[in-house]
Amino acid sequence: MEVKTPIRLAILELGGEAEASQTLISLKAVLKAFPNLEIEAVVSKSGYELFSSAPFIQKVYLFDTLTIDSKLDAVTELESVLERPYKVVFNCSVSETSSYLTTLIPGTLKLGYGRHLDGTLAIYDAWTAYTHALCQASLKQGIHRIDILATQLLTCLQLHFQDPVENSELPVSTKSFFQTKPDGPMELPNWHTMSHKWIAIELDEHSFSSALDEATVALACLELLKSSRELSVIVLGKTPSGLNEAIFMSEIERFSKSDSQEFKKSLKTRLFYFSKHFSFQRRIRLVQRLSILITSHPGSLALASALGVRTLHVADSQVVLAQCGAYGNGHYVTEANTPDALVAHLLYLQQEWRHRGLLHFNEFFSSTRPELVKPAHSKRLLKSRILPAKEGGGVLYETVGQEPFQTSSVISIFHSVLARDWLCSWVPDLTKTLASIPSHEVQPQLIRDCLDSAQVLSQILSSGLGISQQLHSTVSQLKSENVMSMLDIERVQGFAKELRKIEELIHRACSIRPELAIFSSYYSIFFNELESHKLKPLAEGSIEIFETLIRGVSLFQSFFETLLSHKRATLVPTRAKILRFDRGSKRERGL
């Protein structure tokens, strides 16, 4: 077997616990394809224990920006990281500090945000440009952060180092993700009885923005405990900021007043409230034992994803699940914001083994709990599914029990299709991609308006392309860029003036229709990152930018025409050259 040269990789992860867990999941996936990676990580305090417990990370450096007191401290913390150059430095964070650090850490190849030598923000790779373009314009997209990080690194390694190792399709999330040390057994009745189910509900500061107050959680606990005798519930109420055990227990007492004595007695051995802070090791062991973790906490969701434990995410409807929800198959999300709706969704989930998600809420509740039909329908319940590569890859959240669909989600689906076309050179079957959108949710007039505006934008971009081609033709004929005749100078300046007008028109066209905002955002990033002191490469770059944007608008038109007509899938017509990469297909990378 061929032994590959080790590739030293430095990871910068200065985000919170959720980001750290997501980054670890993507690194584990990349390691399957590139086992010769030697990963060292510079992490924030929130990610330190997570990274230190992951056996596939060789060294972890703590860079706690909140406790550094002086410039000297900052240099001392980084001393060993700055010592020996890495092959790749990958900044997974979005903080300003991390961008400076990425540039300072010696490495051959950089990914993520960095700094130009004049201190301005640098975008080192195409996937970062994609997320930046969306972030700048406050747009949503449909590719999960874990998939983006993994694809970013996989593409870079394949293009610049070696082909990936062919291996099996084993899932990345496993219960042995972290190394755990014995930390004393959990002395709870039935903890070690494997047929007994354990469910935990987190009641913490994130609960303030969700339905998880003490009364709702108390009601939910009682409903769960009544639904099965082979089930116990743990409430994790670790915050000092208001939600507390005394209120919770009094709510339990209030709601269980009319229940039987036997049931009330059983609560002592089946319902537990932990208010103390668990050590990281103990927390891992607790989460590993759960059947379901019910939480609003992004860090806990990501941690449970890494451990392969199912979650019920109590989220408000503004959370972009496709980007930052729990990653994996079978995770649930409820947008319930009333006790009844939450209880209805919980009971539906708890009985999933029986209905397998195939029953609608009215079929499920009508005979047993008809009063829950309306609350269940009032908010969405979603379930995650990992899509196979041929269906576009990534994680998809589908509604269960009912079928509402938010029209605004169509644009976020388009953004992920655009990313696959531009960055992976392929377009999924549009009919299949759009199949989950019910026809009654499609607003034909809005789509026609979008298509009209896209036509105008396409014409503006074509004019820009024409001007760039003329500029290129002119500068190609110059004998020298340093010494030009007055006529040539005037001509070049004339083209520059016309391009500025085009830029203004692009921004104006995209501001009229927010659905097109991605193109003006990308236009700015492309030109900002076009670096050369010579006219000819600048002209070539601007031709590539206009051709790419024209192709993107063409994809936008195909996407919405398909949605409007519901015709059979057709691949996007190629009106410009296909972007080609040095080797290999990106299809198998999960996107």
Binding site: S95, E96, Y100, L101, L111, L530, E544
Partner: protein
């Protein structure tokens, strides 16, 4: 290796940090230090969004 596209880069080949001039290194460290101070101030003001500054 040649980049396949001018606008779609899959990683940027970096200038070696040891070739940076002292002025560049000083200025990058100063920039980092200023951003650390900003994060600490944001934390003191109870902001939860210190790490969400990708629009800078």
């Amino acid at each position: 290796m040649k980049e396949s596209s001018q606008i779609f880069k899959f990683g940027t080949f970096s200038e070696s940090a040891k070739d940076f001039t002292d002025e560049v290194i000083q200025s990058l460290f100063e920039g980092m230090w200023q951003s650390i101070i900003k994060e600490q101030e944001a934390e003191r003001h109870g902001s939860q969004d210190a790490d969400q500054t990708c629009n800078t």
